[in-house]
Symmetry: D2
Subunit: 415 residues, 4 copies
């Protein structure tokens, strides 16, 4: 077990830790630790909302969640000698939920998947499923099951949703500029097009006073992935993977969290992963001048590990970039194509007795694969969604008799 460079007491808020983390991207947030290259470290993490969601059978907590405090990140950890232009090589050695499994915090033996309300977060299918819902999952080893989703059981593809290096001031200014321009195209939209800096709820390590206010005014929200890495939500950042992050500031300043016990490609319910607190063990190293050597200018590159959960039989759904309700054709829109693939999968699973919300929660959390299948056959982008059949304890394959409908219980709702 590597040395712990960021420790968390899961019974307390991130604000009340001995060394608190942060929830905005800003170069001025001070490093909590500095390590030399070629070092293994352990980082402990809070669940991304800082523990607002409970192990319960109502989704009121999801409906009313305060998103101004998210994502609660651990770090930053500085790496000696790292300079802008380097690549920070991060090997994900191990990660998992909180070792103590009996507590009340997410990650202590359980996690959850949420559908966020359209008015408070939204999600990929928010037009179809605008109400807050939740499924609570129990962990046994690498396997997850949920009382809210009977009949489903899978090996989680455990990964951090969010890690990244600190942006430089210039890069941060670029982000704020382009995101503000986007918001300005439809400022009243629900859900919003993007999230601007927000002073409410800001946490920036030990910073306080005017420094903290400045981070609140300038600091980038943590929701999207950007040039520093960030909230990739790439399920394949699992054990054994290697990620090479661009370095934008001296010391690199690596931060992260948002651990996921599992997730499907797309993380479609927004909070679509199985969310938890926990730990992550990493080895950090540097490729000096790596950005130039390998022409890495905008986003990290990575190599998945070789111990991802293995499935071989999939039922797959296709979507194209047509709005089938209105018969409107969008031009080569992979987002719409994938949304249609998801909707097709939801409708299919409903034939077996799941509610639409349950199906949506399954697709968000199980190790499904989302593929960009065709993006040149104008006007229709074509995406596909691969659902492993083995995660169900009944046969979901189509046959001449038709689906075996049964009572599949219910997920937690907000009423």
């Amino acid at each position: 077990m590597p040395d712990v460079v960021f420790s968390v007491d899961q019974s307390r808020s991130m604000r009340d830790q001995a060394a608190p983390g942060h929830n905005r991207w800003h170069p001025d947030i001070p490093a909590v630790a500095t390590v030399p290259p070629d070092t293994s470290i352990r980082i402990e993490c809070r669940e991304w909302t800082d523990g607002q969601i409970l192990n319960s059978d109502t989704a009121k907590d999801v409906r009313d969640v305060d998103l101004s405090v998210a994502h609660m990140l651990s770090g930053p950890v500085a790496v000696e000698g790292a300079e802008p232009g380097d690549l920070l090589v991060v090997d994900i050695l191990d990660l998992g939920p909180v070792p103590q499994t009996r507590g009340e915090a997410p990650g202590e033996g359980w996690g959850y998947t949420g559908i966020f309300a359209k008015e408070n977060g939204g999600g990929f299918l928010t037009e179809e499923y605008p109400q807050a819902c939740k499924a609570v999952w129990d962990f046994r080893g690498q396997v997850a099951t949920s009382r809210h989703l009977p009949g489903v059981r899978f090996t989680g593809i455990t990964h951090p949703g969010l890690f990244g290096t600190a942006p430089s001031h210039d890069l941060l200014a670029k982000w704020n500029e382009r995101e503000r321009a986007l918001i300005a195209t439809d400022p009243g939209r629900v859900p919003p097009l993007a999230l601007p800096p927000l002073e409410q709820g800001v946490l920036a390590g030990t910073l306080g006073g005017s420094d903290l206010e400045r981070v609140g005014r300038e600091g980038a929200r943590t929701v999207p992935a950007r040039e520093n890495g960030g909230n990739h939500d790439i399920k394949n950042f699992s054990r054994g993977s290697r990620v090479l992050y661009p370095v934008h500031v001296p010391g690199a300043k690596l931060s992260g969290g948002d651990l996921h016990f599992s997730q499907g490609d797309g993380e479609i319910t927004f909070c679509g992963a199985i969310e938890m607190g926990g730990f992550i063990d990493m080895h950090v190293d540097l490729i000096k001048d790596g950005m130039s050597k390998y022409a890495v200018s905008t986003n990290p590159i990575f190599m998945p590990g070789n111990v991802e959960p293995r499935y071989t039989e999939f039922l797959s759904f296709i979507g194209i970039s047509v709005d089938h309700k209105t018969n409107e054709n969008h031009y080569n829109d992979a987002t719409l194509a994938y949304r249609n693939a998801c909707l097709n999968a939801v409708e299919y699973l409903k034939q077996f007795g799941y509610s639409g919300e349950q199906a949506y929660l399954i697709l968000g959390s199980a190790p499904i694969e989302g593929r960009v299948s065709g993006v040149v056959d104008i006007p229709n982008a074509c995406c596909s969604l691969y659902l492993p059949t083995a995660i169900f304890d009944f046969d979901i394959k189509p046959n001449a008799e038709g689906p075996r409908r049964a009572d599949r219980g219910r997920c937690a709702v907000a009423q």
Copy 2:
């Protein structure tokens, strides 16, 4: 070997076959054969442009290709008892290039990948790579190599780019309506937003005269995937896969072709697969009333086979929905995110000595995976591209020394 229900003489155009195929979707194109359910059949196919592209070292043929004749499809084959609302169950038993390997037609021991010119077809990176280029591939068993892309060698994930059932008149009208509406938003665009019906070059089996003219006026172009299946370009429709097509007309009227020796997700150069003529063996059967039973309303569902080429080590590239040149942020645009992932991969491969065009051709044809990683982390969609490292005969993994640049030859260009 199943009975051949559609045979092709590869030395002749599809127009000059004993029983010609077709190149538009229309319910009135007569079936060339009728088979009972639970039957195995062989269908022989022409390469999609009907043999316009040569085994040569110039891309002038690609630049000047006549796309009005594409895709040249084999069929339709009617299935007894099929009625609208059924699912047509197609098992892909086997497929491959033309058995005779010494001829001049694509598929006779060789195939090609083309970058289409922006003015004539375009492609996914057409803004960056607007000139026609080509790579010719040689086949040995399931393995492909190209004199235009030295250092690359892989097992093809062989599949048909395009199969589908005939649309009903109503469905066809819906398509024409929505695609015309899209075109109308920017009628002069190069490349165009969509392709309207076109009388030039039309082929409709044995139809002639006014019937043929009508198919030319009304028949849907074969480029996009639609509710009948169509040009999915899903690389996983390989040996052992099962596809369940919606049936829209009596007899289902299955047609297809556009065989690919291999392709990467997205088929990004447009003609990004390794294109060839060849054969496909299928078993066809019906699930009566399957569309309703399984809520399949818009697109086929499918199950990949278990003999796809297997790779375990990947180098992966990430893209987000930002135009990095202009610093413009697009909202949750997975198409742009995947384009950026592709561009990032191209830049990376250029460090090893490939030209951008060569890299683009590799990504189009090799069994890369394109994943929709995150589509909820507003405003940035996040897509990723998985490049199997084993397809290169040198090490492409990043390390402290930097890339081993070498002379990687050149692809065919149009000059």
Copy 3:
């Protein structure tokens, strides 16, 4: 499709082909064709008994089979420039049953698995299952099913059971010497310990008269694997694999056949594979002086392909080197350990309604894996057998309720 260098008319015996093959190993059997290195070739093959087994519901044919004529091999094919000490590099490009699927010969749309009678061939479990039995399999693409084994369906791992180079006279003498010595330790054993040269039934290409008699007197029987390759029955010599054979005579003289639609590790029923006639496409090349370069002195080396059928869930059985009936302990005997693992698997499958013979036939033909798990934990060798659960259309996993017993039909028997 490569040039056919050895063609077979499946309606005739190997003896009656235009260019007959052979059924003994001997350096003097003349080559039927000579090809340069770096050449792709097609070889057509008869089923190994030369067509004695029928597509029928009795196993009398298996019981009474004339084994003096086996294995009927195609070849030899000489490679220009090959000299003793070289490695012959054989890439298996493609292989399969006879393309014409409607004939009566094995391979023409069907194949079989046989349990040989103890008195005529025997098998791995011949003490427990001494009677001849048979299962006939139908092929659809790469998938096999059997009317004699309902509930089972799998993708075959198609491969040649037997290929090899010709032995030198010295090597042949070595084989005869050691095998005669072994036989002499128990000459009357049933089944015999080894098979000595046998003039009855001998075929040696176009040789006749005293030459043929000499081959009959001296030629090694084809049953075992030896230093030339030979009857490996390694199921992983499938599409895409590469085998490097030692060269013992000028020209290498490659021969083979005994094509298997599928087989489990061990080929435990002796004729445990799914036997068929068919074709195999190979690419041949040379590594000059390869035996010395790579220290290959006794057996070929090989690399499996990357398109083997993929299964991920297995039920596994263990055996140790104890005779459990007599409580006799054998020292580190992996053969006995694997036999016990097989017997344990048979008993397990019987709980679901299969007869022991049916279970034995399944384990011989399905893509099971047999592993040498521990061979140092004295006195007990430990082997294990991995049975893919997905080949059954019912759930064979153990659970608290116990196995779901059902009528599983019956295999062909000899009465």
Copy 4:
């Protein structure tokens, strides 16, 4: 993290723990804990020799190891309600080395692979490699590297070498009887044919005095696998696997240890795995009367997990049951066949610069697969060994140029 039911202080001998374990199989060893069915538990384990081997560059410790104290097992743990005839269902949730990585005990950040001296333990190739040797491995996440084996790096397939239930008195008597009979056939053999009960070094939990002496006189040594499970050394008992053990005494009395960071099939150097102390998390449950329901009479059955390290390219070696030095033919001897496959692999690796001992150590510890390929082709059993090529940082595939020989360092030896 489940409750710890057996804890270990790695700085002390198993004898000096608060609740010591045991090193013989005997029904009278008292349970250290009792848990209900459907419970998750953590068991901490000492390395199998109780810490005699050091992180050093000499193999004197291996040469002189006291094997009378091995294997040091943790347990027994009783399961409420378990009765003879039941199956004990053990899910391996997680396992790994000692969490604290800086200590001196094996498992604290490092492990070792040993070749045992012929006079003290021996191994699979002990005739060829009779001297004690050692390689020390360093762990980083799931990856192992060794300063004694430069150029090698792999993801470990971590598993317990040894778990089992307690034998009944009758079963124990059966073991002693058959093993004594075997020893009696060659009592002076070096290494011995089997290990009889031995009072020296015995440990039986809290038992002392005459009880302990009785266990010493009667208790079965832990080296072989038997009807209770035991020292299977099956590398696939890794994370996510399920093992179903026969129950022979009330409470089942599960014990185990001998954790391996990795191992190849066969564990050919005897101490061929990467040996370590550590922890294992298990979930235990019962199938009442499961032995009869599923005809499990002699050995456990199991299901491997779906997160085993994944390799797709292998170089494979073949062996047959011939003693090539003496040209003696053994009848269908899979042990000899696998030994020859191992020797062939060793000779191959030597061409690249490794010593024979280094190659032997690699094959013992890396995730190689050992297959029983053919055991019916009399007289020659045929086994094969699959070596994943990706574990080397240079190319080990054969080519026309020949192997790239280099200085590959040296392993620890006993001088």
